[in-house]
Symmetry: C2
Subunit: 398 residues, 2 copies
């Protein structure tokens, strides 16, 4: 099976810049050598570790808290822990995954701003001291269930440059954050600092600048108001390579971001980052199969290609066609044509790419294997428990 | 806990027409009397059975094949089998669920137009004889793995009147269907008839007319071409009550649809229907909890209300705000105001209703129980296996 991408240009400087997704790797070799009964995510642990080291080199003094939600597979957590990573958990279950992988409570942050009181108490009992909040009621819960905990207040920021922009769901405005700092102190909590998120899959370091300026302005106001902030959490946003457009290497990207952070926050004692997608996405690929190729009408210009995996069985991030996964087949040297790509379920919403069709070989037919690349993040856990009777993704870690 | 809905008008004729969702029921009594550790779907089997009987009375001679994908819970399948239902399966696993519930192969149709060859062979070995198809390649698979099987060709129809309109994913055009009938015969298959889908949640019987006219035109062409069609599959589309707008009772709706069917297909020997949502949605409700109520800014007009259930843990049909579930709380007699409703995950896409906010009591706060109504369909199996570490829905059948 080949893994070329039409239109992928050669990188000007391969060490700093890659213009295509990974066309080789242990996981792709594994897929090429095996047959799969059903859709299977193959993850290369060595690639995860290598990406961790690259990001860590670029991030310098910023501590990495891996965003567990991107992929909570126990083997990934254990490996990242061995590499020196800390973790950011979105729920009690994710905290338990980290503890089971061997992490201590003080290596885990509980970064979800929406927490059940009982889960805060659980985290507190496990020795977790760092929490996120963006609302008065959340601070009340923290004060009750995790007295004297450290809190990062999450700021809402402009982030329209990201491929998967975050909505207004998380964070609060700057003036509200200042007010909440005072309230947190009243409640006996320690205001550690600020957190934000530039938006998932933020492709270029310059896209961070406007956000960092907003955060720096608030930081100065907080210092002026007498709050002894000491921790800046720059969140995630580190991109994965999904297509042939130019993207810095992970290390260069992280270093460029940190240069922009240090220019504004050079004197801040502690900095942390929460890469998820950027750490694990490229380390995984899904082995899938074509179930049907058809046309609605003999004169249709577009074929419909139906795979044995869809929006409800692992590829939820194709929602609104936000994430466009590269797809390769064994026929990639043949003539290609546009097609609508859809999943196997009886749900009409289970269409992956229709607004912007996919180029696939004209010879493609039922039974052909396909490889969906850069699937290490937000796939295995997004899969439904059994919509239409389709089982969740199989996962193989190598 | 009250279950009133603001704006629900009294029905003109309560026996034929209901203008609100069910405000009472065994499942709601059960929820009122219990506390739940995590989001739980409570299903009333008696309500499912009663709805089956109502639909069966209205559908008359049309055989009901329950669309298993709506809710494959074993207790539902067993109960519907006892009531006399047949089943339509979307996958091998759904066929297995039906067989485990006691159904025979000849009581099951395999209605997904996108099937794995091995799964067709499995179905054939289990005595399933009725399959759907809309493409030449699918007919090839049927001829190979289920020789001499009966095939319904699925027609693509206009269905923009439905609340959850089906895309062009399924079906083919009329001229292509005619061509495929000839091809199916060449391949030794039996062309049983035609199938179509008006679109899920089609609110009024008149909305079927345009679609039925399209199907009738093709039916006549097929007869004229010498195809001995004998089975019309009218699919699903039977609506559930999600709001206070006027809706016929299930029996009256089904009878009105059948009157329109018989006017066009009176001489057709066999008719079948595949209700899913319309059969089980109203029999279930989800007991959930408020995790946080906040404002992004003190002067915000809208509050954000975060629940312990969201788009990735059962409420996937809130995608594009397509299905709007009625929500009640213990504070429903208090003053209400608009709010954005969101789920508990760290995913910014996990927002349920934002474009059209929800009216909820101003006094709502963290820890308050809420009931999400009419959740019996497309919830428990849509839930992700563990996105953000949140477990799938608990299900209790009473």
């Amino acid at each position: 099976m080949t893994a070329s991408v039409t239109g992928a240009a050669a990188a000007a400087d391969p060490s700093d810049c890659a213009t295509s997704f990974a066309i080789s790797g242990r996981h792709l070799d594994y897929i090429a050598k095996h047959r799969f009964e059903r859709p299977t995510l193959v993850l290369d642990l060595e690639a995860v570790a290598a990406q961790y080291r690259a990001l860590a080199r670029g991030l310098g003094r910023a501590r990495i808290h891996y965003a567990v939600k991107a992929n909570p597979h126990p083997a990934i957590l254990r490996r990242l822990l061995a590499e020196g990573a800390h973790f950011d958990a979105a729920s009690r279950a994710e905290i338990e995954f980290c503890l089971e992988a061997g992490a201590r409570g003080d290596q885990i942050s509980f970064g979800n701003t929406i927490k059940r009181g009982a889960d805060i108490a659980f985290a507190h009992a496990q020795g977790i001291t760092l929490f996120a909040a963006d609302a008065r009621e959340e601070l009340d819960k923290l004060a009750e269930h995790a007295p004297r905990a450290e809190v990062c207040l999450r700021l809402i920021v402009e982030n329209s440059a990201a491929d998967w922009p975050l909505s207004r769901k998380f964070g609060c405005t700057a003036d509200k954050a200042l007010m909440l700092m005072g309230y947190a102190q009243e409640r006996g909590l320690q205001v550690a600092g600020l957190s934000f998120h530039v938006g998932s899959q933020t492709r270029a370091p310059w896209m961070w600048e406007e956000t960092l300026d907003q955060v720096a302005a608030l930081w100065q106001s907080a210092i002026a108001a007498g709050h002894g902030l000491r921790l800046l959490n720059i969140g995630g946003g580190f991109p994965a390579r999904y297509d042939a457009t130019e993207l810095l290497s992970a290390e260069a990207y992280a270093a460029e971001v940190m240069a922009r952070v240090e220019a504004r926050f050079g004197g801040v004692p502690k900095i942390m980052a929460e890469p998820g997608r950027g750490l694990v996405a490229e380390a995984g690929a899904i082995a899938a199969e074509v179930l049907l190729v058809s046309k609605k009408h003999e004169n249709d210009l577009h074929r419909w290609v139906y795979l044995d995996i869809g929006k409800f069985s692992g590829l939820a991030e194709t929602m609104d066609e936000a994430i466009r996964y590269p797809i390769t087949t064994a026929r990639d040297l043949e003539v290609t044509g546009p097609c609508v790509l859809a999943g196997p379920s009886c749900d009409s919403a289970d269409v992956l790419y229709e607004k912007q069709p996919v180029q696939l070989p004209l010879g493609l037919r039922s039974g052909d294997p396909v490889v969906i690349h850069a699937c290490g993040a937000y796939t295995s856990t997004y899969a439904s428990v059994g919509f239409n009777g389709f089982a969740p993704l199989d996962v193989v870690v190598i």
